[in-house]
Amino acid sequence: MGTAMESTMAGNIMRVLKDYSGLFVQGIGFTLLLAFIAVTFGTIFGTFVALLKMSSNKIASFIGTAYIELFRNTPLLLQLYIFMFLLPEIGINLSPFAAVSVGLVLNTTAYISEIIRSGIQSVDHGQTEAARSLGLSHVQTLRMVVLPQAMKNILPALANEFVTDIKETSLASTFFVGDLMTTYRTINGATFLTLEPLFIAGVIYFVLSFTLSKLVAYLERRLRA
């Protein structure tokens, strides 16, 4: 019985792979694309939010802090639902993919802004003082002295955020946006197979995450050396 089931399952996996390989490739593509969009725009906005939070202006600092806390202390899935329903409500009609992207970017922004803030604060304050004493402006100091040194801490953490986002994007399949979990749902709907496509998707997620994590760890060692 056991061997019969195993062989059926192995057969099914082979069959799913054969019939739906294109769909898996597409799923990987969308998953990587979503993670890439989230981290790229999250880095741009995250830098801005980090600077807001570190601002000596109390109102700016409060806005930055409030943003970060709001997005980090509510579930991503809930945020995605809200954007899905809120955006049309306020007259912005986006495709599900675009709406999910917006949600992921805003969520990732909160996490990345903390990465950037801690990266900046890891740079010895004496560096800022030396730069300012030479007559560099606040912005010049940040750009030429603080950020280049903070990068050593920020880059590996950003890459790790990318790996995290690859897994987080699976929540986006709730809205059928074409990511790897959407691939599973499509195959499940067409073949009524559950475990087989799940296993395949799981292996793909694992290989993506594991490889990239190892790559990041390697990069981190190189940066520290």
């Binding site: 004496g126 560096q127 030396a130 300012r132 004493s133 030479l134 007559g135 560099l136 010049q140 030429m144």
Partner: protein, 240 residues
Amino acid sequence: MIKFEHISKRFGSLEVLKDVTQQVSQNEIVSLIGPSGSGKSTLLRCMNLLEVPSSGRILFKGEDITAKGVNINTHRQKMGMVFQHFNVFPHMTVEKNITMAPVNVKKMDKEKAHIKAMELLDRVGLKDKADVKPVKLSGGQKQRLAIVRAMAMEPEVMLFDEPTSALDPEMVGEVLEVIKDLAKTGMTMMIVTHEMGFAKEISDRVFFMNNGVIAEAGTPGKIFEEPDNDRLKEFLSKVL
């Protein structure tokens, strides 16, 4: 050249400077001595507003730099500062450490800045280190680099905040030599130091600080040989 009037500085409930008034003239070399926590470094850091005084004002060449709306960056260009912990930029080569501010702040031509940097490095015996990163330098070399980095901006005043306190004893001499050479050029200087012999030798005047005030100010001869203040006498008996 620098006048500071009724400077007070509070950190929370702690009053670090209490109504300090003094001045430093052009070409004058002033050392600030005194026990730890007496406010020497804080006073020095007020001169280029790395610390903003809680009250009082600072006049640099007659202009009130503590006034609202003053662009402090333009004044800082004329005030070089050297720190206890060097604060050289580790991600730049020695040469870039020196040319960065002149090129970006004073918009000096890159080639000109480079020639100037090499001249300065030659003066402090670091010419062969131009292309290395500071991590390859000893403490004394880092501090010499920090001094010429400040000099490259062609400042009118140099502020030294315990420039030898973080150095191995055998490296103190080389850094003091560089400061003495600088003194010979007529540079106006304020030096916070624990090196009493050096302060005595180099200074035109010495400020003895205690408990947030300048308790006694005078020539090195007066301060070290005939001190009036009891706390200064006690201090000297311990450090000399």
